[in-house]
Subunit: 108 residues, 2 copies
């Protein structure tokens, strides 16, 4: 089918999965890391950083924007993209809540 069922899961599970999925591509990981590292807003200088065409980068950016990880503001004829700090902390909570759980030591 290719269509993920949504009934039967909690809203939290769906949102966690949605965010994880967006981070589930090396280009988007690279974009997020880059934005966190340079700690500044950029346009599509990403063409020098990623092995992808401009349209493809644009699509990855739009997926990151869709889940709120980044935001973009218009700056003349170019775009300023950056991490959405508030949302980033939310995501840290969300994923951190899962990652922070300790598995028992007596498992198989």
């Amino acid at each position: 089918m290719g269509l993920t069922k949504t009934e039967g899961y909690t809203q939290a599970q769906i949102e966690l999965a949605t965010v994880a999925k967006v981070l589930g591509h090396p280009a988007r990981v690279a974009i997020v890391q880059h934005l966190l590292e340079i700690n500044a807003c950029i346009g599509n200088d990403l063409m020098d950083v990623l092995p992808l065409s401009q349209p493809t980068i644009s699509r990855h950016l739009s997926e990151l924007k869709k889940v709120g990880i980044i935001k973009g503001t218009i700056e003349g004829s170019s775009m300023n993209y950056c991490i959405n700090a508030h949302r980033w902390r939310e995501i840290r909570q969300m994923l951190g809540g899962l990652l922070g759980m300790e598995p028992g030591e007596q498992c198989c």
Copy 2:
């Protein structure tokens, strides 16, 4: 194309993305949470927990196993699945390293 390029990314980026991708489905999130919560090994009791058929659950389990999040040992005619504690900590480090980064406050 539907094929993710791998050249041009670091091994760390690819691995991070691979793990995130596997967590990018509510069924797999639910499975991981369940295993962490009940802190015990289970078979396909998951049929009572997830709105999915047995074969579909089996596939999700195998994807989780592929990236090492869970492991399964044979227990007679059934399987004991559980979180791979060592790998789980590794993943916590990996994702935590990204999530822990602080975006600057001066962004757009």
